[in-house]
Amino acid sequence: MSGLGLKGLGAKIAITALSFSLVPLIALGVTMYSMFAATYNSKVQTNLATLAENKRQGIDLFLREQIAQLRTLAYSHSVKDLSSPELLESILATMQLSSKTFIDLGLINEEGVHVSYSGPYNLSHANYKNEKWFNEVMLRKVYVSDVFEGFRGFPHMVIAVQKQEKGKVWILRATIDSDIFDSLVRWLQLGDLGDAYLVNRAGDLQTRPRFGNKSRDIYAPLLGTPFSGAKVMQYEADQKEIFVGGIWLEQKEWLLVIEEDKRGELQPLFKTRMATWGVMGGGFVVIILGTLIMTRMIVAQQENAGRQQAQMNEELIQSSKMAALGKLAAGVAHEVNNPLAVIREKAGWMRDLLEEEDVKASPNFQEFVDAVDKIEQHVERAGTVVHRMLGFARRMEPVCNDLYINDVLKQTTTFLENEIRFRNIELIWALNPDLPTIQSDAAQIQQVILNLFNNAIDAIGRNGHITVKTGYEAETDMVSISLRDDGPGMDKEVQRRIFDPFYTTKNVGKGTGLGLSISYSIINKLGGSIRFESEAGKGTEFIILLPVKHHD
């Protein structure tokens, strides 16, 4: 399996895992947040409406109380009493003992003339006949004014009640301190930036807001025909986002406006939003990390499995090649050896005949003898090849003896000493003296080692080194033999085929191409393995692993 394919697999796994985990996370986060936001928004608005309702009740109650107080005053005293400025003065003083709500008090006759007045201003003889409020109170018996400056030149409001005595109509009129009313309206504001104030139907401010310069736009949509209950709107202008609650008073056509800073009110919501983002971000990081780690693990495992599979396949292919060769060899042996035997006998018969006197005299006698020699020689050669091939087919049991591999190696090289010296090759020994003895077939191991040595010598040609190394691998209980030459090495194509039967890099007639494949099957039969490492230009190393104890 190629690395690219696995990278693709990794990306696919990662994308799938991420989309299956991130999409629900995002959906969950967004849904939860939006539901919470909607709920919270409506809760804030409900709160605001409730607050407006409560405040309205308070203000209405206040107004009602003032009117009631004034009316009580009007009916509990005779006009005669009230006409006396001294008495009026004392009544006002008594009223102001408990609260300074009333600034002044005046009795006005049906002509609109101040009969008596008690208060800080000199209004004793002001005539109100043409004032709008005067006509109103004559008509409706009770009147509450807008806030106005009037004769006094500062904002105030007026409450007036009608009193009838002996067929005449009188009016008791009181001025309410605008400041006290303002503070009543503003009392109990919600947040730091919250505000509450009253406006009349025309949209004029009736109390002073907490912060000056109130824009009409804020409450304009609430003006018009009075409605029952509280209305909550949102107002957004540059830099300013507020909830606006409006409710009409019962006692007077005034609109109570309550402002609440949106940011202040929605603080918990923003905190929730932050928390949501935080949790989602954390989730993202954890999921991405987890996915990456998981993907990497899967890919690594897959890679490992792929590599093992490839190795197994290679071994399988190799052993099936060997099996095929075994069958081929057996077949070829029968089909070829018989004709070879006949050829050999015929040539031998010719040789026998050539020994007779009259043929010896023939001028071509020597030629005949040479030809027969050659025929026999080449039959011999062909026979050798076939016999080697038969090495595969043979199911001979390895003869197991106790072997000390270092000794086997030393012995084997004695066959090659002359060749090595002649070619000026240096043999470097790096044998592990603590090697355990193994149970194996000396002759077969020798055949393999001889083969590897021959190959190394052929590869080097002249002037080079062969390093022989042995070792012991405790974890697998195997003895290793390594044979490294500093010859030209092998390119990939050669490396791929060196164990193939009949594959040879040597010149025609110099090698059968069976050496390494026979070596391979010998080592396999002995329960070991043979592999190599080679790089073009850097030499080749063959490594044989043999089990210490071979049970077949």
């Binding site: 070829v336 070879l340 006998e345 011999e380 026979g383 043979r394």
Partner: protein
């Protein structure tokens, strides 16, 4: 094993009588001629059945027997020979080259197992030694 040259063997008077059994007619023919030249009394036949018939009529010291033959193969023939004439030395000759076959043959009492193509010298020597050892026993 004693080294015997062609000449030495040829000098032996009244050498062993040999029966060659092989379905390869050319091989039998030539082997017979060459061994006769070396002083053996040799007869050739082309199958196991023929060999058994002939053995019933004539005496042979050594049988050179091909293993792979159509009909009755070498191993079967060997068993029959060893049952009827246990003193006859049988040399198995095979082109097939299975070691297993050789081991089986030896187990059934063959004297030797040779692989084709084999030098005449080897056949002659083996046959001679087999004959000599049979005489000793």
């Amino acid at each position: 094993m004693t080294e015997k040259t062609d000449v030495q063997i040829a000098l032996v008077h009244a050498g062993p009588s040999v029966l060659v059994v092989d379905d390869e007619q050319d091989f039998v023919e030539t082997l017979v001629k060459r061994m006769e030249r070396r002083g053996f009394k040799v007869t050739g036949v082309g199958s196991g059945q023929e060999a058994l018939l002939l053995l019933g009529k004539e005496h042979f010291d050594v049988v050179i027997l091909d293993v792979m033959m159509p009909g009755m193969d070498g191993i079967e023939t060997l068993r029959e020979i060893k049952l009827a004439w246990p003193k006859i030395q049988v040399i198995l000759l095979s082109g097939h080259g299975g070691e297993e076959m050789g081991i089986r043959g030896m187990a059934y009492g063959a004297y030797a197992y040779l692989l084709k193509p084999v030098a005449l010298k080897t056949i002659v020597e083996t046959a001679y030694i087999a004959f000599e050892e049979a005489g000793v026993r």
